[in-house]
């Protein structure tokens, strides 16, 4: 098995790892970096449980080879909270009970965060479209959609306060 050196930024932190060429980004995250928040479901890009944000867009980490991410930036569910405070999307999922067994949750949240980064005030249709690659088998879509909608509304204020914080520093 050939190995390759990968320099990758995960949640803002740079890592250099030597990994097999056939290793997926998902396995790199879970097994090499111990970031087990990202889940493996179907492992063929159908379920979205392994969704992470790669250079700003959501991807299925089970279908990305780790070496393809060299020099790139990945955000996982572990990278959302700031200073012990949950990301507004995470907070909204808690508030709306948008979690049942929890297995799809990290992927759902990453899809939602990517959506709101690109489109801060999505319509219901756009929310549904954004999570169309994420399966929830506990039949929980309604609460998830409500949570994302709520997060979008609260984030309008959150983004402003972040900017104000940064201006103060």
């Amino acid at each position: 098995m050939e190995a390759v050196r990968v320099r990758i930024t995960v949640n803002g932190e740079e890592h250099v790892k030597t990994v097999p060429t056939c290793m997926t980004l998902l396995r790199l995250l879970r097994e090499e970096l111990d970031l087990t928040g990202t889940k493996e479901g179907c492992s063929k890009g159908e379920c979205g449980a392994c969704t992470v944000i790669l250079d700003g867009v959501p991807v299925n980490s089970c279908l990305v080879l780790a070496y393809q991410c060299s020099g790139r930036s990945v955000v996982t569910i572990e990278g959302l909270a700031r200073d012990g405070l949950l990301h507004p999307v995470q907070e909204a999922f808690v508030r709306h009970g948008a979690v049942q067994c929890g297995f799809c949750t990290p992927g759902m949240i990453m899809s939602a965060v990517a959506l709101l980064d690109a489109n801060p005030s999505p319509t219901q249709r756009e929310i549904r479209e954004a999570i169309s690659g994420n399966l929830c088998r506990c039949t929980g879509y309604k609460a998830i959609i409500e949570a994302i909608d709520d997060a979008a509304q609260r984030m309008a204020g959150w983004v402003d306060s972040q900017a104000a914080d940064e201006a103060r520093v």
């Binding site: 060429t21 056939c22 997926t24 492992s43 063929k44 890009g45 159908e46 979205g48 969704t51 790669l54 867009v57 959501p58 991807v59 299925n60 089970c62 279908l63 990305v64 080879l65 070496y67 393809q68 899809s111 990517a114 690109a118 489109n119 319509t123 219901q124 249709r125 756009e126 549904r128 479209e129 954004a130 169309s132 690659g133 994420n134 088998r137 506990c138 039949t139 309604k142």
Partner: protein, 408 residues
């Protein structure tokens, strides 16, 4: 590199190849990653044609202004691929190289008369999309050749198009059948008609007899209904886990009718003209899609279109999503018909009713009017199509309200 590793496989997004490798269906001795070959991901308007590089992702194609304007059929097909995650990685070149009869962009490329450009050590050559695909997974690509992109003739002002895909669900499904239509419509007369059928034969096929039957004809809904059964003749579908042969034959006829209808009368269909419009995100806000510039004013419209593909629950209701204008309401208000099912029909609110609402009202406003705003889990079908709270209602709409039945 390809010359040094003759068995190597090029990988871009890997959304298909990695699945095959995990299943043991593909065991390439080497992979050459081209996902960062930026010179392969250009989209360019070259005047008479649009160049779409093989490395363009489906997300970039479906969001491209150039593609939306000059080759909208490809944008619609790219938007139908997989899920957002898949569209962010999967590429046009990968969809072409995989050469699946269910590849979503393939019927579009064939219907648009695109040319696929391949490059090997001997140089470049362009192959007509209609001759490129030889069988499932087989193409005219020679050993050592790679796909560098597709060259698509630009749409003119009188070109019309539509893409229809039937999957087991809307997202992340492999098509059971798909149809891409591209034609010229001048003074109500169709010419250069191309109808390409996906997932109903070993390769994507053209419905030649159907195309000929429409060529030079003044198009009416009656004519479409009469000729669309010919779509079956081109199909030789198999029975598999996604659908039986008979089902696919019925669906390919229905999809051909829908696609031709939507191509000719895009205005009359109550749905976003293309799924990609919703996906385009903020960058395309204010752009209302390519159908805007299609010369619809000159169309010859049938008096009363008779769609044949939508089941009707009520003989009096307007044809579902393909309906023409309906009388009722005035300038400031709309009149809609509301029907209830299940518990909602048995208890309150009860029987069907006609409701007048201010123009611009949404499904959420209707819930308030019928006093269902506070009850959770009500599903709304507007003209037989599932819609959500923010759907704006139109005069003459029929809204069915019910509780969904769930289970796990």
């Amino acid at each position: 590199m390809l010359a040094a590793e003759p068995g190597a496989v090029l990988v871009a997004g890997g959304t298909d190849l990695l699945v095959k490798m995990k299943d043991g269906k593909a065991r390439p001795p080497a992979l050459i990653s081209i996902d960062r070959a930026t010179d392969m991901s250009a989209i360019q308007d070259t005047g008479r044609t649009v160049w779409v590089g093989a490395g363009c992702t489906h997300a970039s194609i479906s969001r491209s202004r150039v593609v939306a304007e000059k080759a909208p059929l490809l944008a619609a097909a790219s938007a139908a691929v997989g899920s957002p995650q898949i569209r962010n990685r999967g590429t046009l070149g990968g969809n072409i190289a995989t050469a699946s009869p269910a590849g979503d962009t393939i019927p579009a490329l064939i219907a648009m008369d695109a040319r696929i450009v391949a490059e090997g050590l001997a140089g470049q050559r362009a192959i007509e999309a209609g001759r490129f695909f030889l069988g499932p997974g087989r193409s005219a690509l020679g050993a050592g050749e790679i796909i560098v992109g597709a060259e698509i003739p630009c749409d003119g002002p009188s070109d019309v198009w539509a893409f229809r895909k039937l999957g087991q669900r809307q997202a992340m499904s492999i098509s059971i059948a798909s149809v891409a239509v591209h034609a010229r419509l001048e003074g109500g007369v169709l010419s250069r008609v191309a109808v390409a059928l996906g997932s109903v034969a070993p390769v994507v096929v053209r419905a030649r007899r159907l195309e000929q039957a429409l060529e030079g004809e003044r198009v009416t809904a009656e004519l479409l209904a009469q000729v669309c059964p010919m779509a079956r003749e081109a199909a030789s579908p198999i029975t598999d886990i996604r659908g039986s042969r008979d089902y696919r034959l019925a669906m390919v006829e229905a999809l051909a009718y829908q696609a031709l209808y939507v191509a000719v009368w895009p205005d009359e269909v109550h749905e976003p003209r293309a799924k990609w419009a919703a996906e385009a995100g903020p960058s395309l806000d204010g752009v209302s899609g390519p159908c805007v510039r299609h010369g619809r004013g000159q169309l010859h419209r049938p008096e009363q279109p008779q769609p044949k593909t939508e089941p009707q629950t009520d003989a009096e209701s307007e044809p579902a999503s393909l309906k023409a204008t309906t009388p009722g309401g005035d300038g400031d208000s709309i009149r809609v018909r509301v029907v209830f099912f299940g518990e909602l029909a048995v208890r309150s609110p009860g029987g069907p009713m006609t409701v007048d609402l201010p123009r611009g009202s949404t499904v959420a406003d209707l819930y308030r009017r019928v006093e269902l705003a506070d009850s959770s889990y009500v599903v709304a079908l507007v003209n037989h199509r599932r819609e959500f709270d923010d759907k704006v209602l139109s005069d003459g709409d029929e809204i069915a309200l019910m509780h969904p039945v769930g289970g796990g």
